[in-house]
Amino acid sequence: MVVCAGSQGVDDAPVRAHCVGMNAFDWARRSGGPPEILFDARGPLSAHLLDVLQRPVPESGEMLAALLPATEIALSQSVDVLRDDDIQLALFILYGLHYGQVLPADEDWEWNPSLITARLALEREFEKRLRSCVPMPALPEVDSDAVAGALFDLTAPDPGPSLSRYAAKRATPGQLLEFLVQRSIYTLKEADPHSWAIPRLTGRAKAAMVEIQADEYGGGLPERMHSTIFAGTMRHVGLDDRYGAYVDNVPALTLTSLNMMTMFGLNRRLRGAVAGHLAAFEMTSSIPNRLYGNGFRRLGYDTNVTWYFDEHVEADAVHEQIAGRDLAGSLAEDEPQLLSDIMFGASACLTIDGWVADDMLDAWSKGLSSLRVPLAVQSFATA
């Protein structure tokens, strides 16, 4: 495994800077070594897939032919695809071929029919399970204000254990590191999963999505891209900001959270769900981010670390208004048949990310790590 300088708390800024925005393949090529995958398989399906993807397309032959049967066996033996490490990692890898920077592989794999067939088989069961597990909210009137109101009601702050309150008041340095590692799976690609939906929307909903995403991508300033700001937070606490560096560490459900967004974004028929998901995501962001920022400030960290959270306090108070009325509300008015999926996508966001947070709080309350593989370094780099 290639280790980025600085990832273990070594302060070597000039070398570390080379890691930013560079995928494993670029890094290996620059450093003269062979391309390496930064994570391991979690079962027979992901092992099979990684084996296939390490070959050039023309040489994959029998292994590729055996992928769909391997997929069907994995699905038939799975107890719960939402918490199945092997299945969620396989989906993460397949989606990674579209995102890039997830693993080094022949770029011709992206639209390979056998891989797409396997992905569709996984997505079918994934969506089926989501629709059976996610509580379906009552449907509002088909009116943009009513839809926004229903989404704000659904996402309203309510009493109960909260990860962000815990982070603000009690989390240890090691727990906040775990928090950043868990979040990095999505946040180093922040906004990208929802952006798949832009050309799949039209008119007012598209304009609203673009208005939000343009801000996510820094409004034309690359250094203000939210994913870039988050990478800076990771570096300033001594974490490795290369995408994929912590895939082995996170539990299946953290991959599920990203995979769900990607599935919603990449399937045009699920454009209602992606709009609802983004609305719920934005509506549950400003207040928690103030508290996460407070948690890092409590431990003595400066704006190099807290900028990411502070930025979201202001940004998402804007985005939630646009997402509620102009994105989800307009989409419901323009395509009323999507209303149900808009509410489903919002509820799915709250359900899955709620489980991720519950699992983290549960582990920490027992004095355990929330990670599948605990970090080697348990404390922050020097603040």
């Binding site: 204000d145 996402t155 979040r183 801000d215 983004l278 306090v313 998402d316 804007v318 208004q321 009325r325």
Partner: protein
């Protein structure tokens, strides 16, 4: 095209139900003493509940204090008065960026 020929307004302010004022377009945002208030994004939300920690911008706190922009029926008012405020309010959401 000059501004006289262009029917579009320089800026539009959306009064969001139970929420902030959403400002799109070109405006000069200045303090009471006339100094420019830094604006880092194209569309901004201005606080009108009075509880934001980042005034003049909105930080979503209106949701914690039950801020309403329409007259509240008596039955609902009692419920709203029971809502705790600010740091002590227990947000349930667990997002870290959107």
């Amino acid at each position: 095209m000059t501004s006289e020929q262009d029917p579009r307004p320089r800026a539009v302010i959306v009064a969001c139900t139970d929420g902030p004022l959403l400002v799109r377009g070109e405006i000069d945002l200045i303090s009471a003493s006339g100094e420019a208030i830094p604006r880092t994004r194209k569309t901004v939300a201005l606080c009108r509940c009075g509880v934001s920690t980042i005034k003049p911008f909105c930080d979503g706190s209106h949701k914690l204090v039950g801020f309403r922009t329409d007259p509240v029926p008596p039955a609902d008012r009692k419920r709203d008065e029971g809502i705790v405020t600010g740091e002590e309010a227990p947000p349930d959401a667990e997002r870290s960026g959107a």
